[in-house]
Amino acid sequence: MTAAGANARIGRIGLYVLLIWTCLFFSIPLLVVIATSLKSSDEVRAFSIFSLPTEPSFAAWIKAWFAACTGLNCGGVHVGFWNSVRILIPSVAISVMAGSVTGYALSHWRVRGANIIMLFLLLGAFIPYQVILYPLVKMFSTIGIYSSLPCIVAVHVLFGLPVMSLLFRNFYAGLPEELVKAARIDGAGFWRIFVWVMLPLSVNILIVATILQTTGIWNDYLLGLIFAGRDNMPMTVQLNAISTTSTGVIEYNVNTAAALLTALPPLLIYFTSGRYFVRGITAGAVKG
């Protein structure tokens, strides 16, 4: 074998070694949390969280789901889970619909000021939540829905509007104008073209948008904390409260199980439809 060939082979090996090392960096935190969640309380106290469980059991998962405590309230994370589901479904449905209609109106209809509206949407996506939280609280208090399910849904729709609208705008702008022109000549109006021409072509982008919003809203913490109210606390808020409760012995197996239960829905989405997830994340990130 030539020297160049040997060098190339060493290079290939080095490449795989580097990749495997970085993959360990990415996977070990998750594996550690999974291992800890499968341990008994005695085992958690005796060893570091890096050790493997000797007798894996789902006892901590069951306790996390039904009986994990936030202070004196021991209802388990299933309360937060169902709160998150109740927040998620209307928020995602409304924000995806609003985004697709707005994006469509901005792309195939000549509306004066469309470029300015898009600039407003684009800049709106950059505004830190902290800048507008307090005025929003005031507004929702004034109309009397602050700290309720409609309130948190409205807030998610609001904060989803810029990214959703631009995502759909960019998609529809890429479709040939002839589609709309032909439909117009056939006498179809704004809504008929949307429903019969645009929506059937939008399946992929609808999936991307739905996944982007679902993971984003499920993973939200700050908005849920401020706007949902005590009766609708999403799972992330409950999880953080459970894990930072400092009374008594900290049950790391229960806390890790609660964390995994919270991370499970977005992880399932990622592992079943990763392609759409990555497309949404990169589109949302690069555009917004």
């Binding site: 005025p135 919270t262 990130a285």
Partner: protein, 298 residues
């Protein structure tokens, strides 16, 4: 002729629908986003404390803010965390993109592992890293169990080091995204360029550093802007990982604002701090958008 006018009239009617559809969006953006921004910026220039007061008071809130030790720490931390997080995430993300670009087996598996943290919330990410780095149960304890009883890695509990531990979690969560963006860019490089590089006999690593990555400079800038904005906005991660502690040593502006607004009920200070956050984002975004739009026009 008649047909043409008919189409013309119908067209106008339909674009009225489009206007009606856009009206609520415009209204919501103007009131909830921009109206709120104006309100917050104005309140930061009043004497508001528990309740908003609307009499103009100049920059007194900002003077007080920058004289507050907790804010000095939080604001400084943003730069420490930001610099290390940007450098680390960018380095790892680009490195991984280049490695995958070399054509490896099991690429799908590697990508899946690198990108999954992105789907996990910052709360779960923060808690996970809090546990991993905790001296009593995490990495330090593990190494001691292996037979090194003097091993110490307790940064997360040290006021002078806790801010650095956030960088681990930040890199872990974000570098997959940078990898995905950069890999897409690398895949878009013209094959002819690679052929020329091979003909010239330039070593591959050298080609990446001197030719390929400079070609992708706009994409790299986009990545830097993305991470930088995420740093200014970051809140959940620090809440879950250190809760700003020990003391206020790992505080960040985002947490400072929320604490002052909703726990200490000091709207004036919170608004001033929020305005500084907004200014920081604008300082990143405005030049970026300006140059990006200018570049696209060319």
């Amino acid at each position: 002729m008649a047909g043409a006018t008919k189409i013309g009239r119908a067209y106008r009617a339909r674009s009225l629908t489009a206007k009606l559809v856009l009206a609520p969006t415009v209204l919501v953006m103007l009131v909830c986003f921009y109206g709120s921004v104006v309100w917050t910026v104005y309140i930061s220039m009043t004497r508001s404390f528990l309740l908003p007061i609307y009499r103009f008071d100049g920059i007194a809130q900002y003077e007080r803010l920058f004289a507050t030790p907790r804010w000095q720490v939080a604001y400084g931390n943003m730069f420490v965390f930001g610099t290390l997080d940007i450098v680390g995430t960018l380095f790892l993300g680009i490195l991984l993109a280049v490695l995958l670009d070399r054509g490896v087996r099991f690429e799908g598996m590697f990508r899946t592992i690198m990108l999954y943290p992105l789907s996990i919330s910052f709360i779960v990410t923060g808690l996970t890293w809090q546990w991993v780095l905790s001296p009593t149960i995490g990495f330090q304890h593990f190494v001691r169990e292996l037979g090194f009883p003097d091993f110490a890695f307790d940064w997360i509990t040290r006021p002078d080091r806790a801010i650095y531990t956030l960088v681990f979690a930040g890199i872990w969560h974000q570098s997959g995204l940078i990898m995905a963006i950069m890999l897409a860019g690398l895949r878009g490089i013209d094959r002819e360029i690679w052929r020329a590089i091979r003909v010239e006999g330039i070593p591959t690593w050298r080609a990446y550093i001197s030719i390929i990555l400079p070609m992708l400079r706009p994409l790299v800038v986009t990545c830097i802007v993305l991470i930088a904005i995420a740093v200014v906005k970051s809140y959940d991660l620090v809440v879950a990982m250190t809760n700003g502690g020990p003391g206020f040593s790992s505080d960040l502006p985002g947490k400072f604002v929320v604490d002052f607004e909703f726990e200490r009920a000091n709207i004036g200070q919170a608004s001033a701090a929020a305005t500084v956050m907004l200014g920081s984002v604008l300082a990143i975004v405005a030049p970026y958008l300006y140059f990006e739009l200018a570049r696209r026009d060319r």
